[in-house]
């Protein structure tokens, strides 16, 4: 049995305006920040909303799912959410991630127990989630969502494929540069709120390794890494340090709607 005891349990907190059952109170559905949900016609969003649960997650920490399989679809509103795999000895590595431009759906119809969820966000991460089975059932009433969910699955497979190539063939230095760029893109900000420990857990390496590579990137002027935040100073330089996986994946994801956001502009996420 995988040792996940050191990871915290995910808690679904009741947001203001939610009933104890975890559904939104009857008030006009506000425009959700997640772009997939926001693109739904009002009637469809209304049909979906009672099935959505708003969850918050602290930034950085990895959380194990309650003993039921990781069978929810997550629509991030704020921040980036990732799926991670964990080994019998407690080593972790990121499998896939999504920001508010997308969604994280389960890789398999019944997610194995050796999976974790993690968030990177300015402040606590907020996402709406729905059990995949419920979503499947309600899909006929939410016709616009069906192609979007199909696109999410396709995007996920592109990520999985590229991660296999990257982890299997590229150096940690390349992988770190790529991770910083992709997370910055998905957060839509040049400031990534992550500690070196958090990044080490996602890359599957030791924290000291990230510290030394961060020092190297910093000396080259590409980034500045404070205690818990990385600032991308020179995007061009960072892209030069990344492997070909970064432009390749961007190209592939661009062809799959909803498209990835353009490379982070200078505006900060609110």
């Amino acid at each position: 049995m995988t040792d996940t005891s050191k990871f915290r349990r995910l808690t679904a907190e009741a947001a203001p305006g939610m009933t104890r059952a975890g559904t939104f109170l009857a008030r006009p559905p506000h425009r959700p920040e997640n772009r997939i949900l926001a693109s739904l016609p009002a009637a469809e969003l209304g049909a979906l909303t009672p099935h959505l649960q708003l969850v918050t997650m602290p930034t950085g920490a990895l959380l194990r799912h309650p003993d039921a399989a990781l069978d929810h679809v997550y629509f991030p509103h704020q921040g980036v959410i990732s799926l991670l795999a964990v080994t019998l000895t407690g080593e972790t590595i990121e499998v896939a991630s999504a920001g508010r431009n997308g969604a994280i759906c389960p890789v398999l119809s019944s997610e194995p127990h050796d999976a974790l969820v993690g968030a990177i966000a300015h402040g606590p991460m907020r996402a709406s989630r729905i059990p995949a089975a419920d979503l499947h059932e309600i899909l006929p009433q939410v016709a616009t969502l069906a192609p979007a969910m199909e696109a999410c699955r396709e995007a996920l497979l592109h990520q999985l494929r590229q991660n296999l190539v990257c982890c299997g063939l590229h150096s940690v230095e390349h992988r770190l540069a790529r991770w910083l760029l992709e997370t910055s893109d998905r957060l839509e900000t040049e400031m990534v709120p992550a500690t070196q420990e958090h990044v080490a857990q996602r890359l599957g390496v030791r924290r000291t390794t990230v510290t030394l590579l961060a020092s190297k990137l910093q000396d080259g002027g590409a980034i500045r890494w404070g205690r818990s935040r990385v600032q991308v100073l020179d995007r061009g330089r960072l892209e030069a340090m990344a492997c070909g996986c970064y432009p390749t994946l961007r190209e592939r994801m661009r062809a799959v709607p909803p498209a990835e956001p353009p490379a982070a502009a200078s505006e900060m996420a609110s």
């Binding site: 590229h170 150096s171 230095e173 924290r207 510290t211 030394l212 020092s215």
Partner: protein, 127 residues
């Protein structure tokens, strides 16, 4: 438990570890340094084999050196003499790049001093 700091010597530069790590003893510190070296070498042994990690304790005393070539898993299949040769060459290459780097720094300093003595401005290109 004592703290150990793991600094990276690569291409004539030292990249410092400001955080350090609490570990029981020097032997564990060496194991950790070896694991970090293997993380850094992964899929780029040719480029990183001549790097080394310089471990210090919390009094700033030098504890040990970990030369990447000594723990390079890609050399495991070679006969011992070849491995020894690669390990020695890697150390020499590391020492040479360190020396070249120091030489460059001295050169720049010297040129700056001379230019100043002549009362002339001098632009230094730092790479």
């Amino acid at each position: 438990m004592p703290y150990f700091y793991f600094h990276l010597r690569a291409h004539g530069t030292i990249h410092r570890d400001p955080e350090g790590m609490e570990l029981p003893d020097a032997a564990t510190a060496r194991e950790h340094a070896a694991a970090v070296a293997q993380d850094l070498m992964s899929h780029s042994e040719g480029r990183t084999r001549h790097w080394s990690i310089y471990v210090e304790d919390d009094r700033g005393e030098h504890t040990l050196d970990l030369f990447f070539a000594d723990v390079d898993p890609s050399l495991a299949s070679f006969p011992p003499q070849t491995r020894m040769l690669v390990m020695q060459t890697s150390r020499r290459l590391g020492a040479l790049t360190d020396a070249l780097s120091a030489l460059r720094a001295t050169q720049i300093e010297t040129r700056t001093l001379i230019a100043r003595a002549r009362g002339k401005p001098y632009l230094v290109l730092a790479r």
